[in-house]
């Protein structure tokens, strides 16, 4: 994207690699679990924006140096994928490192955020779009981009292969960088948990049918991105706490006992909107992903989030939002064991997409995105999106920068975006 002058908005891009300071050793491998393999075609792209006060006096070398210490704890994120003889991918922890991108921006942070309001796709310039493959040997799993704004502000863009862990793990990963930069020692054990089948999922009798929340694609071979039928576009809008409580009351009635949480209400309303604007049959199933606090060991990166499916046997467009919300809250069926099962049957060789196989709602309210503190200051704003999303789209609910506020991000086929924006503005009374 070139501005009216010769210089592009984001310029002076330099690539390098940073790895763990300590030698991991020969022949150390990390084996992703079946659940990890199921998520391998997805990528998280997060951008953390910092005002100049938070990064005053920091230079790029000041950021690079602690990364070497930080990555000692996460050496498997610095490895590269190989395939075992069976074809099953595993990570060789060879200290190859994370890709480090440095860039400069001609605008100030505030100017940039204004520009983003009009064109959300600008954010793509602050984070890498790379996916794993086609050469597994040479594909980094994590890419970090540091962009310096004219005012001295900075953005940190994290490109994260979902096979390493869910968004909650990615948030913990980034937060520990802040801790290392502040000179704190990380509490995590240095030896990561060895490969394990998630203990919380109870073994179920072998089912021959596939889980409903995933879609088989491919085979994609070594290029880990699924093709879409339509081009996907992301847009987001911020909600203040007033708008939230207003909306909440509107959908779920008076604030009081037995209240349905905001996320489920949001799901219900957006489900209805999508059903309304989409051509063809309305979506009768949605996938819900949420944090599973029991499934996460402190400091261990994993794909432990809850993935469940909600099926409606009534018309969505005519349904009462409150009823729909109750359905989402109470009738969601945990599909994780089925997914793990299906992957196990194929010995980890299948290619699935989870986000976007059905209309997917991702609850990231509990992700500690604002826990990445530089000079004890949290980011001014954090935005996350997902790449590799299927044609049915994804809705993300993220925490907002201020107490009570939230951010809703939608990744939908391009041709539906305008209609969605129109409808959602009505629902949320956004100016």
């Amino acid at each position: 994207m070139v501005s009216s002058d010769e210089q592009p908005l984001v310029h002076d891009i330099r690539l390098s690699t940073v790895g763990p300071g300590r030698v991991t050793g020969q022949d150390v491998v990390h084996e992703p679990t079946n659940m990890d393999q199921a998520m391998k075609l997805h990528y998280l792209r997060g951008v953390y924006y910092f005002k100049s006060q938070a990064v005053q006096g920091l230079t790029t070398p000041n950021i690079k140096e602690p990364i070497f210490t930080w990555l000692n704890n996460f050496y498997h994120t610095c490895g590269r994928f190989r395939r075992a003889e069976s074809g099953r991918p595993y990570i060789k922890c060879n200290d190859c490192g994370v890709r480090f991108i440095e860039a400069q921006c001609v605008k100030t942070l505030d100017e940039w955020l204004e520009l983003e309001k009009d064109d959300g796709s600008l954010r793509r310039m602050l984070v890498s779009n790379q996916v794993v493959g086609p050469e597994l040997f040479f594909s980094p799993l994590v890419l970090l981009q540091i962009t310096w704004f004219k005012c001295g502000g900075m953005s940190m863009g994290l490109s994260w292969a979902h096979v390493l862990g869910d968004a909650f793990s990615a948030a913990d990963f980034m937060n520990s960088l802040g801790q290392v930069m502040a000179g704190l020692k990380l509490a995590q054990p240095l030896k990561l948990a060895q490969s394990h089948i998630s203990a919380k999922i109870s073994p179920s009798p072998p089912k021959s049918k596939d889980p409903l929340s995933v879609k088989r694609v491919g085979p994609v071979g070594d290029h880990w991105i699924a093709a879409n039928n339509s081009k996907m576009k992301a847009f987001s809008f911020n909600l203040t706490s007033t708008q939230i409580s207003h909306f909440h009351t509107k959908v779920c009635g008076q604030i009081g006992t037995n209240q349905i949480p905001f996320f489920e209400c949001l799901c219900a309303v957006i489900w209805k909107v999508v059903a309304k604007i989409r051509d063809g049959p309305e979506p009768k199933m949605v996938t819900i992903t949420k944090n599973d606090p029991h499934g996460r060991k402190n400091g261990v990166l994993s794909n432990g989030q809850l993935i469940s499916i909600v099926k409606a046997d009534f018309s969505i467009m005519e349904a009462n939002p409150k009823e729909l919300a109750e359905l989402v809250l109470n009738q969601a069926m945990d599909e994780r064991s089925t997914i793990v099962e299906a992957m196990e049957r194929d010995q980890g060789l299948s290619d699935f997409i989870v986000y976007g196989a059905n209309l997917t709602f991702v609850d990231l309210e509990e992700a500690d995105f604002y826990g990445l503190k530089l000079k004890a200051q949290k980011p001014a704003y954090v935005g996350y999106t997902i790449d590799g999303v299927g044609d049915n789209g994804v809705v993300l609910l993220l925490p907002g920068p201020n107490n009570g506020g939230k951010v809703v991000t939608l990744i939908m086929p391009e041709d539906q975006v305008l209609k969605l924006k129109f409808e959602l503005k009505k629902e949320f009374s956004i100016a």
Binding site: R14, L15, G19, G21, V23, N94, D95, C96, G97, E135
Partner: protein, 496 residues
């Protein structure tokens, strides 16, 4: 089984014969003196004290004779002491330890190669094969400018690397020895491939505010053996200038010399050369005699540049695309072997014990007269030296020298481990190796060390040091945090 026993006892007998021969020849003077002394003592005892006094009086010594004789003796003694070369002491030295942020694991190096050489996968494969067999480890370091894709070798970055390496080494040296900037009389910096104006020597003079009458020299273009050339130069200067300190800084600045093309013969240095540097304090002051670590006994320099093939075997030139790189010839090892033979032919008589020299002489005569096709006798240098520091130019160089000089694995351990931990740091690698031996606690008073370096030209230079005092395991230095992990077994081929 029975055949092995006679062989074994045969070799044991041979060993004892050899030991006996060596002991006899090396101490021949003692063996000759003992019967003479015994004879004199017996004669004296036989004669009795009065007879001895009679003999002495009969010499008719008077005061003039006594004075003249004593003047003669004093005169000869003075001439002897004046013409004796000054002793040159190595007070201490410091090696640069690159920070962990400069670390380049194999995988990162290969990935960057792949991204930089997008259009020549064959060259990438070649580099992978070299790296697998190189003998380097996963902790070697490249300067920050080379970590970028593509590398970013500006002059500013090169100066930055030079300042980082040289100043760190000199700071460490000054801290260790307590020498002050105003005490430095001679400064020599050698860096083969980076020669800015003003020179690196001037850079050091500027940083440390050295004296205006300092004798400074900057040696460039002299290859990996330039470290010993600098030591030789310092020695010569210290002969002429009494009561002086000399600092020698040996380094190689990688930033401007990273080859960015695809020619295979020129990609080899990229795989082997790594960041490093050393600063050495030499002195001819009498008061440093006790605290110095080593005394310099010999320096032997051999230059094979008169031979065209030797001259061209390490050659910096532009490739077909105009990118500058250093081409290494295929017969590099052969030329190195020849240069080594020349060097040890000169070195041998200086350091070998009489037993080995006699053996060499006899076998030489036998070959010349009786058997021209016989194998030349390789003198056993293990008798002349306790420690060997072979320039860690590459695994092949160390293997070749180990074979030629018939050294054991322990003798070349310092070289192999330095190559593994630090890579080929060019002229400073000898100092990392010496530090390894000290860090292992193997350096005792009286031990002799042989440093051998090869360099473009083609040159083979050696220096011989004698350990002045038993050296305690250093608590600082580049090996301090990893010496316990060494020695490591370095596989023939590392699977990447």
């Amino acid at each position: 089984m029975p055949q092995n026993l006679p062989n074994f006892s045969h070799s044991v007998r041979l060993k004892y014969v050899k030991l006996g021969y060596q002991y006899l020849v090396n101490h021949i003077i003692t063996f000759l003196l003992i019967p003479i002394m015994a004879g004199i003592v017996i004669e004296v005892l036989r004669l009795g004290p009065e007879e001895i006094l009679g003999i002495v009086r009969s010499v008719h010594l008077d005061i003039v004779h006594v004075l003249c004789s004593s003047f003669l003796v004093i005169f000869i003694a003075t001439v002897y002491f004046m013409s004796k070369p000054r002793s040159i002491y190595l007070v201490d030295y410091a090696c640069y330890k690159p920070p962990v942020t400069c670390r380049v694991p194999f995988a990162t190096f290969m990935e960057h190669s792949r991204m930089n050489l997008k259009d020549s996968p064959k060259s990438v494969d070649f580099q992978m094969r070299i790296l697998e067999r190189s003998g380097l480890g996963e902790e070697t370091c490249l300067p920050p400018a080379i970590h970028y894709i593509p590398p970013n070798p500006t002059m500013e970055a090169a100066r930055g690397e030079a300042e980082l390496v040289i100043f760190s080494a000199i700071d460490a040296l000054m801290k260790k020895t307590g020498v002050k900037p105003k005490d430095i009389d001679i400064l020599i910096v050698n860096c083969s491939l980076f020669s800015p104006t003003p020179s690196l020597t001037a850079m050091v003079v500027n940083k440390y505010k050295l004296r205006s009458n300092i004798k400074s020299f900057n040696l460039s273009g002299m290859g990996c053996s330039a470290g010993l050339i600098s030591i030789d130069l310092a020695r010569d200067l210290l002969q002429v200038q009494p009561n002086s300190h000399a600092i020698v800084v040996s380094t190689e600045i990688i930033t401007p010399n990273y080859y960015q093309g695809q020619e295979r013969a020129m990609l080899l240095p990229n795989c082997l050369f790594r960041m490093g540097g050393a600063a050495i304090l030499l002195s001819n002051k009498r008061r440093d005699r006790n605290r110095a670590k080593y005394k310099l006994t010999h320096v032997v320099r051999t230059h094979k540049g008169a031979d065209d093939k030797a001259y061209k075997c390490v050659f910096e030139e532009e490739d077909a695309q105009g990118k500058v790189g250093i081409r290494l010839d295929k017969d590099l090892m052969f030329i190195a072997g020849e240069a080594l033979k020349s060097n040890i032919t000169t070195m041998g008589p200086l350091v070998l014990p009489a037993s080995e020299q006699l053996l060499f002489l006899f076998t030489l005569i036998r070959r010349k007269i009786f058997n021209p096709k016989g194998k030349p006798y390789i003198p056993d240098f293990k008798q002349a030296f306790e420690h060997f520091c072979i320039h860690a130019g590459g695994r092949a160089v160390i293997d070749e020298l180990q074979k030629n000089l018939q050294l054991s694995a322990e003798h070349v351990e310092a070289s192999r481990m330095t190559l593994h931990r630090f890579g080929n740091t060019s002229s400073s690698s000898l100092w990392y190796e010496l530090n390894y031996i000290e860090a292992k606690g193997r350096m005792k008073k009286g031990d002799r060390v042989w440093q051998i370096a090869f360099g473009s030209g083609f040159k083979c230079n050696s220096a011989v040091w004698k350990c002045n005092r038993t050296i305690k395991t250093p608590s600082d230095g580049p090996w301090q945090d990893c010496i316990d992990r060494y020695p490591v077994h370095i596989p023939e081929i590392v699977k990447l």
